[in-house]
Structures are given as C-alpha cells and as structure tokens.
Symmetry: C2
C-alpha cells in the first residue's frame, strides 16, 4: 500500500499512536521512504527531552520507568518509552515482561511505549535510534525515556543520544565497581539507587561517591551528578527523580550545553548516514568483488590491511 | 627515538616480549608508523588460533583464562592473553587483579599477557584489536586468548574477531537468560559452565540447552556448540576445554569455515580502515566547518539528517 508520508506525519503529530508506530517501523525496517519521513519531521523536532535510563539487569529499570511514566502523566506531560535492545533478535520476548508491567498506561493516549531492536542496523544504534527519537519528538512527546537492555557499550552509546542520562543501581550488586568498569561514571548525569529499602544502600552510595571523587575534576559551573534513592515499586523517591531530571535540563539549557550536545549528536547522525552511503557504495558491484579479493590477499599475507584500504578507497572515490 | 620497524618486527618474531609490547603500544597510540608495522607483519600472520573468552563479571573469566594458559603451556604451546576493555579508561585498574592472578606466568617466555583499552579508538574494537592480534600472531603465538571486560555489544564484537568463541557461565546467575538477551547464543562455539561444584549447575545447563533448542536450526555438518563443565580454580575440566577448542579449530579448517571467517574479518578490517580515512577526510578543514554548519541546521530543524549527509558526502567526494 502506498502511504502518503505527509498524512502519516500529520496524524502522528495529532497524537495518533498507530501512525507513530508505523513511522518507527519504517525506521526499524530501513524503509525506502525514510528520507522523505525525516524531511517531513525535521521542522517539528527539538521539543522533547530525551532521558536515557541505564543500569545492570535486576536494578529495577522497568519498574522505575513505569513509575516515572506515572509521575510525568500526573504532571500532564506526554511521555514515550523507547526500549532499545542493541544486541538481540529475541528482544520481543525479553521485553515482553517489561511491556506487561507498563500495561496500566496501555490505554492512555499520552503515553507511547515501544521496544525496538537495533541489531543488524549498520553501526548498531548509530542511526536507527536517533531516527526513532525524531519520530517521537516530532509527534509532540514532552519526555522520551530511552531504556537500554544490556550493559557496557550500549549504555555508553545511549548516553550519546540522551540529553540526560540516568544511571540506576541497586544495593548489594557490587554495582559501583561495575559502574567504574563500564565507564559509566563519565556518562551519568544522575544516579538513582533503587530498592533503597534493602540492606547495603549506604554502602552502594558511599562506594559511588568514592568512585566519583576519583573521576575527573569538575569546575564550579559544571553539573555535579546527584545521587537519589528510590523504591520504584512503591513509587518512593520518584518525584525527586523527576525534579532532578528537570533541574538537569534547566542547567543544560542555561549553560548552552543542550544546544552543544544536540549539535554533536546531529553531527554524529549526519556522519553515520554519510558513512552508510559510502559503505553501501563500497559494497556495490565491482567494489564488492574488489573487497573480497583484497580480503583474500590480506588473509594470505600478501598485502596488509592499510594497503588494501587504500586500494578500496581509491576505487570507491573513482566510482563516485 | 627513531625505531627501525623491521628490527622491531624481527625481534618480536624471535619472541622478545619488549618488542611485542612496543608494537602493541603503537597500535594503542595509533602511531604514525602503524602502516609500516602492518606491512612488515603481513607475511608472518595466519598461524595463531584466536580464541575469544566472554561472559558476565563473576563467572570466573580470569581464573579460566589462567587455567587455560597453564594447560597450553604444559602442552608446549606459545600463548598470548589480550584483555580488551572497550569501554573504560580505568582498564588499568580494573584489570590489575586479573593481571596479578596471571603472575605465575610472568617469567615464562612462552606467555605474553597484555591488557588494552580500545575506547576512544574510532569505532571501538574495529581496528585496534585486530591489529594487536596481528602483532601477536606474527610474533609466533600458537594461541591468542582474547578476554573482554564487560558484556553486551563488546561480546558480540569479540566474536567477530575470534576463530573460536568460548562463552563462560556460572550456576545461579540467571545467566542462560542473560545469554539469550545479549544475543550470545548465535556467537558461542563452546559453552563452559564454570564453578560447576556449586549448586544450580544442572539448572544452568538445562536452561542453556533449552535456549539453544530455540535457536536456529543446524544442519548435520554444522558445528554444534558443546557445553562443558569446569572448576577453573582447581583446574578441573580445563583439559576438556582445550580439547574442545582444538576440535572446533579442526572443524573450522576442514569445513573451510576458518578461511571464510578470516576473509570476512579481513574485509571488515579493510573497510574499517577505509572508512577511517574517509571520516578523517570529512573532519578536515572545510569539511569540519561544513559538518558543524550542517549539524546546526539539523538541530534547528531547517534540514534533515539525510539531506545533510548528502551534502557532506558530495563535499567529501569533491575533496578527494
């Protein structure tokens, strides 16, 4: 069926969930109309606050997300939740439980919930997630909560997409150490120690402060990530998290960092798309054959990767 | 100081650890002589078996690595351990404990141990780790064990670099589920359930078999990943792991998969280097300014990322 992109975008902007869903599916499937979609969305982007939620499995990420959604809705704000699984084709299954927990919002027009696999996309999160965020932003969401499945690289990547990155921890998981290992200290704008009714919350908080003090020096005008405590399952401490996220956003706006971060993100996105085009060109027809041949020579040890890369770029530029 | 690359490579091939260390440091620091280094190494590569070791923190990765090193040494094979931390600048600290555990091999000339951060490298693991592997391969290692810190994306990436990928689990960590979530089912050539003296080992094994049965169908000539049990801290089951890794390598060789995998890897490496060159060109002088300007327009919503990417590629190709 032919879809009038302009209609679809207009309906999405009117808050029609099905249209939003179709636009995100176009992103996921790398639909040929994506260029047109992004062009139609462009004038309507820039409003939403993108909040990344990250943390090891078991810290209560989904419960916290659900509690935040509830708080934002109580405040009359439109919210989207984008659960990104950068590694697994099983995302549907793995995230099913999370979706069910969100069901109390299932019939609320002010909440849009979507899980999305980004695996198989060239460069992982590099262009699919930002484009999905553009859809949700243009659709008029005030807040987009981006939740990642998995830890490590994915967390660091999500931080590069978010205005505000919230790192969730729970007591007794040795998480402060994991935070240091995963390089999360540099990406967190806000720490939330969830399950704060459990033993060990003070140890986790203390470890975290210690780790933070080992990190980079901050200037007096820099943002200093607060450490908040929640019991998300009972909604405790959630309003404080909402306030801290708002406060961080105000700081971003006033310091000029919001614009700076968004420019960096846009530059990354443009670059990723340009590289995708170039890469596609590399794989095309005679260059695909050339790459095969070069790979064979590198494996045989008759050439080295640099010399092979030079040959490839030269052939590619000649093709342009 | 000027280094004669040919001498350095010759010394590394003679088993001189300091020369190997200097070559890998050149990779880490993206030294200008890297091109020359890779050209000098090329004829001497292709011998080493690259074995990736991956698993969540706490499964006993370092202990297993140490036990494997011991077994390979007892067999008279030259072994290298490359511990890659793709996310953290703290790698030195985080891996220190692991290094200490390996100290019994510190004075053995047949063992080379190195930890390496790959963060900050353009594209993460994309070119630094393969180049370090080339150094170790050309230096005459029979086996290179590549251990990653962190889970998720890094594990999937490491699998794309290894001939054989060993996924480590431990009982009672809900690991089978994590394996499914992290997309590891598709990358494992061998499962090792470590700490097999603990409760829950049968549950983990059963869960794993169940997960595997949900995976893709295998043909009769395909490799079916075995599940082995170890108590690495006591060296139990390690010889069986060595045997299984050798068996997998024989299968790779006989089926032609070894060559096929290596060609894919070489193609990836060539492509990554070619893209790095192109990206560098993008960031250069007037293109850097252009990218900034385009990013500003995307943030303002006056253009979309695709149109911006087109402008960028056009300018870049014109520059070539």
């Amino acid at each position: 069926m032919a879809v009038a992109i302009a209609d679809l975008v207009a309906q999405a902007r009117d808050g029609d969930h099905r249209s939003v869903a179709r636009l995100i599916s176009m992103v996921e499937n790398a639909a040929p109309q994506l260029r047109e979609v992004m062009a139609a969305l462009a004038p309507h982007t820039g409003h939403a606050a993108i909040v990344g939620l990250t943390g090891s499995p078991g810290v209560g990420k989904s419960t916290t997300t659900a509690a935040l959604v509830k708080a934002y809705r109580a405040d009359g704000r439109r919210v989207a939740v984008l659960a990104v699984d950068p590694s697994s084709p099983f995302s549907g299954g793995a995230l099913l439980g999370d979706r069910i927990r969100m069901q109390e919002h299932a019939t609320d027009d002010g909440v849009y919930i979507r899980s999305m696999g980004s695996r198989g996309h060239l460069g992982g999160l590099s262009w699919a997630t930002p484009q999905a965020l553009r859809v949700l932003d243009a659709a008029g969401c005030d807040i987009v909560l981006v939740e990642t499945v998995g830890v490590g690289q994915a967390e660091v990547e999500i931080a590069s997409l978010a205005d505000t990155t919230v790192v969730l921890l729970a007591p007794g998981m040795g998480d402060a150490i994991q935070v240091a290992k995963a390089g999360i200290l540099e990406i967190a704008d806000l720490y939330v120690v969830n399950k704060a009714d459990r033993d060990g919350v003070e140890v986790t908080t203390r470890d975290l402060r210690q780790m933070m003090s080992l990190g980079e020096k901050r200037g007096p005008d820099d943002w200093s990530p607060p450490i908040l405590k929640t019991v998300a399952s009972r909604g405790e401490g959630i309003d404080e998290v909402v306030t801290a996220i708002d406060k961080h956003r105000n700081w971003l706006t006033e310091s000029g960092m919001l614009d700076a971060r968004r420019r960096v993100r846009a530059a990354d996105e443009i670059e990723a798309l340009a590289l995708t085009t170039l890469r596609r060109r590399m794989n095309k027809s005679r260059d695909g054959a050339l790459l095969d041949e070069l790979a064979g020579r590198v494996v045989a040890g008759t050439t080295d990767p640099y010399a092979a890369a030079d040959e490839l770029s030269a052939a590619m530029t000649a093709l342009a």
